[in-house]
Symmetry: C2
Subunit: 211 residues, 2 copies
């Protein structure tokens, strides 16, 4: 690694650290690039040689964090627990990381779910890692009979992920206090597994299997 690359990495980290502390201190909108640059001890223009724009400072940080989580989870994952337990661990871990730096997490969720048209998403590799964590768990779940075998793994993921989004949103909007997040997520995950309609045995099977 040349001196150049080394300096570049160092500066990038300095920018991120300045940005994180300033964003959490004063909020995203109340922090100027000039401030970040000053705190990092560099010129304003230099910030833009490391990040395309203000938003991508957030993306850079969050994607870096998320990748760390995923690597952690792959190492930690306990193949023997139930799907419910493992999903709870995964999404609660992600929730904690996303909301640890409130401002960063908020802007990341926005960009990830409803991105600017111009920002062509480069999350594909991140997504791949995501699925690398989830799919083995779900597959095992299918083999163990915890999950219906006729369902696409992608669709199963969709249910858990969508509930994760909702819970996170509820936390951000203040409808759900931090203390209630885990309970809510567990409840909703269980309901997703069991279904909203009554068990077929007791009731009209035909209606549940309508097409």
């Amino acid at each position: 690694m040349s001196i150049r690359e080394l300096k570049k990495q160092k500066k990038k980290r300095a920018i991120l650290e300045s940005a994180i502390s300033l964003f959490n201190e004063n909020g995203y909108d109340n922090t100027s690039i000039a401030q970040i640059a000053r705190k990092a001890g560099i010129g304003k223009g230099t910030v833009y040689s490391h990040f395309n724009n203000k938003k991508s400072i957030i993306q850079g940080f969050c994607e870096y964090e998320l990748e760390k989580i995923h690597n952690q989870l792959i190492a930690q994952s306990n193949r023997d627990s139930s799907v419910l337990e493992q999903m709870l661990i995964i999404y609660m871990t992600e929730f904690e990381h996303v909301t640890k730096n409130r401002e960063f997490g908020r802007l990341y969720m926005r960009e990830a779910l409803f991105p600017d048209d111009e920002d062509q998403r480069n999350t594909s590799d991140l997504e791949k890692k995501y699925f690398d964590v989830l799919f083995p768990i779900l597959q095992k779940g299918q083999e163990r009979g915890e999950l219906r075998k006729d369902l696409d793994l992608l669709h199963i993921t969709a249910h858990f992920y969508s509930l994760y989004i909702l819970v996170t949103s509820s936390w951000y909007t203040g409808r759900l206090p931090t203390s209630g997040v885990k309970v809510a997520m567990e409840l909703l995950f269980k309901q997703a597994l069991n279904g909203l309609s009554p068990a077929p045995a007791t009731n009209t099977i035909g209606e549940n299997c309508n097409d």
Copy 2:
């Protein structure tokens, strides 16, 4: 209604119309308030006497639109259809409206789900109307035995709403083409009703259901 109020309403509509066309033409970020003002035939400062900031132009529009939808739905709703059918109609209607003006919808979803801390949400009345539409349908569903009676109506709503968010996000991120939205939503709604885990009694029932 005084002449003042009348003029004010007229100008507000003029601003919105200019904003809608410019946003859809050039995108939100590439449209300046000055442009909107010029097109509406007023001064720049006047825009700010009708809207607190650029974002609230979007909110004003979308909340107005959503209220229209809700009123429509209350009138239209067919109490005799299944919960699945009614939910599909409601959320597909909302999807169509939200995505009709792509840019507006995107920014509205962002604000609704992950709002700025400073913007204290005033969506409570909008939410109330929302529940006024949904709860009767779900209640009827419980009475008819389509939905488990032990579930909180709010939680049932959560499942459908979260899937709606996911599908909408998938559309905005380009993962789901417009043509695939309804199919995806129906599939996911059915799965939410039936549950992700196999029916307790037998394993084969699940396989007869859905695709």
